[in-house]
Symmetry: C2
Subunit: 265 residues, 2 copies
């Protein structure tokens, strides 16, 4: 699908409006006491907050008004069909565990899928006030009136790499072992930052993010941002990652290749 | 030592001025590219940044002007003697690994030791602009013009607790096992937040922080803040923790007792 300049501007403006709206909703609930938390799954701990649902509803209302012809796939309310060939992929609060802990590493994720992965990605961190955008040949960081281009940094050797993931267990036992084999080669491994890790990668502050068990709505926003900033995102076999699963994101193609080789041993 | 009201106000004002100064210095270096990082220890990874040293120098300059009679113990420049019976305990950048990764979970820590633990503690997070203060019967959170009292939340059972620590390995193998025994009982365990975890505890967002291998300058600021907010901080045997080592901080004395019992099995 070809998306001309005027259309690109319109689509970015829609993404920004959704992020503005979701920011207002989520901040109203962030760090309140006695936040109503339900358990989505009976086993394990997968909190869905009221904020999560309200934020997705608010984003869907923007789309209903401005882009009724587009499809939607949202974490909370699933699929809505469209006729334009474009699908908005929404995660109103990625990192709900961080959210309920008061930590500012959760984010609002927006991706725009045109058939073969996102053409636009946005990560918004409402509490720090930071927004990370990538798409249509642009990538930038904004915070209030501050603005800067987003560029990943060079990193040719794993020995120089800072690696991040969210949980030390990563995924299955086998996935954890593969992750640990990469981690053992890296300069530093850090845990717990959810989608904010992809933002730090796009900022050129870290070099690798490796995760497993992700959904499409967890990755489409981050893929748009990281690719826009010059990075590489694939699954652990080197294939497109926009449907989720095992994800490896790197700022430098050489670090990506070196880590991929270890993951596939 | 008795510290009267006027003196309390003066000491808080000095702590605030130090934090203001350290905030300016650290933000000048945060997220810059090619930050000069030295290795403090030949083995392992203990980065000391230029920012760390400059920030401590700036804080020491404030003390030299306003409180020349007080002693100082700083992470970077060690001990300086004094005659007042008060010791300022300074960690210019707690969480240097977070700092070099661009993550806003590091902090400037200030404690004021009067012989038996801190009478004042301050945690400053320059990037989010948050300051957490506890001491002299007060505890508050500030961010720009926003201000709120700091209060830990009730948590009687570990099954309801959110637990945080910085590294999954915690400390020695034995310490890791003890930590994991507590973690297995808790609702949620999160990693990677450095001193910001104590701030979240004081905010009443989480319930427990358990760490090991800490230094006095890592804990004095957090102890002041957490105790000021109504929490409890001890070592893993239930003794005073202001000299560092194994630390358990809890928002509720019942959760503290329950975790302590497991750590000592």
């Amino acid at each position: 699908m070809e998306i001309n300049k005027a259309m690109q501007q319109e689509l970015r403006a829609v993404a920004e409006e959704m992020a503005d709206t979701a920011r207002k909703v989520t901040l109203r609930y962030f760090r309140t006491r006695d936040l109503a938390i339900e358990n989505k799954e009976r086993e394990g701990f997968d909190p869905v907050t009221v904020a999560d649902r309200e934020a997705e509803q608010a984003m869907r209302a923007v789309l209903a008004r401005r882009r009724p012809e587009d499809a939607i796939f949202g974490e909370e309310f699933g699929h809505s069909t469209g006729s334009s060939g474009l699908t908005w992929v929404l995660d109103p609060i990625d990192g709900t565990r961080a959210f309920i802990s008061g930590a500012p590493s959760w984010g609002v994720l927006i991706g725009l899928e045109a058939g073969q992965g996102p053409v636009l990605g946005l990560i918004d961190q409402p509490f720090t006030g930071e927004r990370f955008f990538g798409g249509f040949g642009q990538a930038d960081w904004r915070r209030g009136t501050e603005k800067a281009p987003l560029n990943t940094r060079p990193c040719r050797r794993l020995e120089d790499a800072i690696l991040m993931t969210t949980f030390p267990e990563v995924g299955t036992g086998e996935e954890e072992m593969s992750f640990n084999a990469v981690s053992a080669r890296c300069k530093l491994t850090r845990f717990g930052l959810d989608c904010y890790a992809y933002a730090l990668l796009a900022l050129g502050q870290i070099d690798l993010v490796i995760e497993a068990g992700l959904n499409a709505y967890d990755v489409q926003g981050p893929i748009g941002v990281v690719e826009g900033a010059g990075g590489v995102v694939t699954d652990w076999q080197g294939n497109p990652a926009h449907n989720g699963g095992q994800i490896i994101a790197a700022g430098d193609a050489q670090a990506h290749a070196a880590a991929l080789e270890i993951l596939n041993r």
